[in-house]
Symmetry: C2
Subunit: 347 residues, 2 copies
C-alpha cells in the first residue's frame, strides 16, 4: 500500500535538520483549505480550462483584483493544483478532471460540505474533543434529520458516487440475477442506483431520513430507475427492513459509531439477508498500524472531532464486528483511484 | 534552493492518476493546524520526551481520554511530528528540538500567535480578500497599538529570535566597533539585543508601539544590556529617528506595506544612516518565479489575508525599493535552518 509518508511541501532533503519548516507549514495549513475553497468559489479552475491563464485575465473573468488573483494562483501552484510558466497558469491533470466544471467528473461541489463551518467548526476546540474522546458539538450529525446529510447527499455525490460503479462490478451486478437490495443510509442513493443501472432485475430499498431520501429519489428518477426504487424513511437502527435481501449496501456509515453499536446494526442486517447474501461496506480503512495510508488514517480524527464515538476501523476490527454479528467471511477490496475500500461480507 | 514541491502527504507514485486524493487532503488541511495546536496545548511532545509513550500513559499525563489521545497521536504520525512502533510513540528530531518544552529551542509558544483567531479569522472569507486585493478585516494589524503585536512579541520570539544571532554575525557585530543601531518595529527586541550582546560598543534604539516596547525592554533587561537600550515609542513612519546610525534593523516589517510606502520609509531610513551605514532587512523572499521555495512563496497569501496591501517581495523587488530610496547596493543571504532571508543594503 503506502510505503512512505510525505507530509511536507518542501522536500526533506532540502531542509537542514533540525528545522522549524514543518511546524510553520503545518500551523498555517488551514490556509490551504481556505485557498482551495476560494479557488473553487471563484471558479478559477474552469476559467483556466477555458483559456484565461494570466493573473489579469483571471481577475477579469472571476471579478477579482489582479493582485489577489496572482497571489491565490501562485499559492495554488505551491500546493499542487496548478503549474506556472512565466506569468501563465495551467491546470494539473487532477485539476482538469476534478476541479474544472467543464469536466463530467468535477468534484468541486464537495467543498460545500467538507469546508462548511457545520463540519469545520467541530475542530475549533480539538483539545476538548481529545479530552472527552469524541465530539463536543451539541448538534451531533447523528441527530434525526440533521440538515448536514442533505448537504452531504447533494455536495458529495460527485466525490463519493463514482465508487458505486466499482462496487456494482465487484458484486457482479451485470450477472442480471433477480436481486433485492437494501441501501442503508442511502444519502444521494448513487450506490443503489448504480446496481439498479447495471442489473435490470434489481430492486432497491433505500433507508435514510425523509429529507435525505428526497435527494435519492431525485437521483433515481434522473437515472431512469425510479420504478424499481422504494424508500424506507427513518433511522437505520429503528426502521423495519423486511427480509430476503440478496445485497445490503452499508456505505460510509459504520465509521459514525462504536463497535457495539455497529454489531447491533450488523445483527439486524444479518437477519434481513438471505442465506448466502452479501453486505458491501464502503469505508476508510487504515492499515493495522493506524497511521497509513494517510487518507484513511487521518479520517479517524475527522470522526473524533465530529461524532460521539465513531472511528476509522482497520480491517481486523471490521472483520471482527461482522464475525460477531454472524457473518461467515469478509474480504477487503481497494477501489483505486478513490481513497476508500470496500468490504464484502457473506452471510 | 528548492528544486521540487511536494504538496502531498501521500507520495504521488502511489496514487493512480487522476486522483481526488490531493483535493481531499487539502480541503481537510485545516485539521492539521488544529491537531498541532491541540498537541501543543495538551503538551504531548513534552510528555513523550519524558517517557510517556503509549496512548494510555499520554492520556493520563495530559488529562485526556485514551481514545482521543490515540487518534491525535496517530494523526501526528501521519503529518510528520511523531513516529510510531507498535503502540509506542517517539519524537522526531524536529519535535525534540522545537516542540518539547524541555528544549531550550522550543518554539511551541508560536501557536498562540499563528493559530489565534485574531490571525486565522482573516482567512474565513478569502474570496472577499482576493476580490479586494487585500484584507477585508476592519481591525487591520497595522492600526496603532494593535494588541496583536504584543502577542507576536511574546509568542513568536522563540521562532523568529534565533535569526538575530545569525544577523549579528553577518554584520560582523563582534568586530566591536562603536555602533549606533536603530531597530525598527523591534517587537520582542531580540535582533537589536543580539547585536548588543555581540558588540559591547553597540547602543540600540528601538522603535515600536509603547505596549510592544514593554516586551522589548523586559528582554533587554533579561539580557543584561538595558543600559545600552533606548526606546522610541510610536509609528515607524512618524517618529523622529535621529541620525548617524551605523546599522538599521528592519525585520519582518516591509511585507506589511506596498512598494511606494516602503520606499518612503526607506528614504527616511537612508537619511538616518551614516554614509556607508547598512540596513539588515529580514524577510520572506520568494524566488523570482514567486512559487518557490514553499514557505516564502506561500507567505504572500498570509499578507493578502491579513494586510491591506502587503506582500512577500522577491529580491529584485526589494533591491529596486532600496535603490529607489538611494541605497548603493543590496545583497541577499539565506539564514538556514530558518525559512527567512536577510538583505544587507548599503548607503
Amino acid at each position: 500500500m503506502v510505503a512512505r509518508v510525505e507530509p511536507l511541501m518542501t522536500t526533506p532533503a532540502e531542509i537542514p535538520q533540525p528545522s522549524p519548516v514543518l511546524f510553520f507549514e503545518t500551523i498555517n495549513a488551514y490556509q490551504r483549505t481556505q485557498a482551495l475553497k476560494a479557488a473553487i468559489e471563484l471558479d478559477i479552475f474552469t476559467a483556466i480550462d477555458e483559456g484565461e491563464v494570466t493573473p489579469r485575465a483571471l481577475a477579469k473573468r472571476c471579478r477579482a483584483s489582479e493582485r489577489g488573483m496572482r497571489t491565490l494562483a501562485d499559492y495554488l501552484v505551491v500546493i499542487g493544483f496548478l503549474t506556472k510558466k512565466e506569468d501563465q497558469y495551467s491546470l494539473t491533470p487532477d485539476s482538469t478532471v476534478f476541479l474544472s466544471r467543464r469536466s463530467p467528473a468535477c468534484i468541486a461541489s464537495a467543498v460545500k460540505f467538507l469546508a462548511s463551518p457545520m463540519l469545520t467548526d467541530n475542530f475549533r476546540d480539538l483539545v476538548a474533543a481529545v479530552r472527552k474522546g469524541g465530539t463536543v458539538s451539541e448538534q451531533t450529525p447523528l441527530a434525526p434529520e440533521h440538515p448536514m446529510w442533505v448537504e452531504f447527499a447533494r455536495a458529495m455525490a460527485p466525490l463519493i458516487g463514482p465508487a458505486g460503479e466499482q462496487i456494482a462490478k465487484l458484486l457482479d451486478a451485470r450477472s442480471g440475477k433477480t436481486w433485492k437490495v437494501l441501501d442503508i443510509a442511502a444519502g444521494h442513493g448513487l450506490f443503489g442506483i448504480a446496481i439498479a443501472k447495471n442489473n435490470p432485475q434489481a430492486e432497491i430499498v433505500a433507508v435514510d431520513w425523509p429529507n435525505v431520501l428526497q435527494v435519492a429519489k431525485e437521483n433515481a428518477q434522473a437515472a431512469g430507475i425510479a420504478g424499481r426504487y422504494r424508500t424506507l424513511p427513518g433511522s437505520a437502527f429503528d426502521v423495519e427492513y423486511g427480509h430476503g435481501y440478496d445485497i445490503v449496501l452499508l456505505t460510509n456509515f459504520l465509521h459514525h459509531f462504536d463497535p457495539p453499536t455497529n454489531e447491533k446494526l450488523l445483527r439486524k442486517v444479518h437477519a434481513a439477508l438471505k442465506e448466502g447474501g452479501r453486505v458491501a461496506t464502503l469505508e476508510f480503512v487504515p492499515n493495522e498500524d493506524r497511521v497509513s495510508p494517510p487518507v484513511p488514517a487521518t479520517f479517524s480524527l475527522m470522526m473524533l472531532g465530529s461524532t460521539p464515538s465513531g472511528d476509522a476501523y482497520t480491517f481486523s476490527e471490521l472483520e471482527r464486528m461482522f464475525r460477531n454479528a454472524g457473518f461467515r467471511s469478509s474480504e477487503l477490496h481497494p477501489l483505486p483511484p478513490t481513497f476508500q475500500q470496500v468490504l464484502i461480507s457473506r452471510k
